[in-house]
Symmetry: C2
Subunit: 197 residues, 2 copies
């Protein structure tokens, strides 16, 4: 076993590489992020990065999006699980998103969006991973809305708008360096949901 | 006058360069777009690009965002002007956005967002231009909501959510290659606004 494969097999290396890719692509876009920089940020050798991701940057981008997908799904599940009322859950989630953005000086938004947008129409794997992320988030919202008494058709439709609005408000907050879009989104999603229960 | 400055002074060159920068940065992100490619796409010499944009790519990105800002402000104004009811105007606008996305095979979304997100926290000029765009769009919505009888405070707050939701739905539509997020957004924004009139 060479020292290179040892490094590649060490527990946590793959994880560190994916986290670094996710963070860097979110801040710099897909094209602005090189594999060398990812390796450096993850304290991994270039060899170990290619060991885990023989498909190179495109494969890494898919893994980065899947990581962002899981992270947001966890935050969403946690908020939805902690509150019986979906409107209260969304308010708590918007608070968490606003705190995270503000703590990173408005630099760390949604890793799925930035990576996917910078490759629109040119990387079907990346697009598919981003589409799956959005679908998973909608599914979590839809289940919660149904559990709160909203009918199946309305719940599915509303889940689209809840995710679009959260995503757009996070983006507007980041661009405007202000939490106001997220505060407004929480308030208005609550009003909207009240029409269906 | 050299042939280079002649080309630079020809009417329309600056415009073509800005349009090319806007299109390419929207599709490939800021980092993924080079000045040479912009010049090529705009059928301009590299010299004429630097003649108009001595600040290089960052200055071009600001101009590209301002171009995207104006384009969306025009589409928004047109929709808001064509319908007395703001909800109907937003439905028409979502229809236009869905048609545009679908006609470009889901490749051409919001040029402001992609350019701004890929440079988050590292390019204050670009961030400021994107923040101005969002503020202008909100202002147009706010005026329309006030004209339709919604109070000043509510109109300002709702304008945040209308723009966030449109932006998020366009992005979700692009990522999911489906117009459903835009159809849902139009419907739900209409329901939301009906609570305030």
């Amino acid at each position: 076993m060479t020292s290179q494969t040892k490094a590649a097999d060490a527990p946590g290396t793959r994880d560190r590489v994916v986290r670094a890719a996710s963070l860097l692509m979110q801040r710099q876009g897909y094209a602005g992020t090189g594999i060398k920089q990812i390796a450096q940020e993850a304290r991994a050798t270039l060899g170990s990065v290619y060991h885990f991701f023989p498909g190179g940057k495109q494969e890494l981008a898919v893994a980065a999006i899947q990581h962002g997908d899981r992270e947001f799904a966890e935050a969403l599940s946690e908020a939805l699980g902690a509150h019986d009322d979906p409107a209260e859950a969304l308010t708590a989630l918007c608070r968490t998103l606003a705190d995270g953005l503000s703590a990173s000086d408005w630099a760390d938004g949604c890793p799925v969006t930035t990576t996917a947008l910078g490759t629109a129409g040119r990387a079907p794997d990346i697009q598919a991973a981003a589409a799956e992320a959005f679908a998973r988030w909608r599914e979590l919202v839809e289940q919660k809305l149904r559990a709160s008494g909203i009918g199946a058709h309305d719940a599915r439709d509303l889940a689209h708008t809840v995710i679009s609005t959260l995503e757009g408000a996070e983006l507007a907050a980041q661009v405007s360096r202000s939490e106001r879009p997220l505060t407004a989104a929480a308030h208005h999603l609550g009003r909207l949901l009240s029409l269906y229960r």
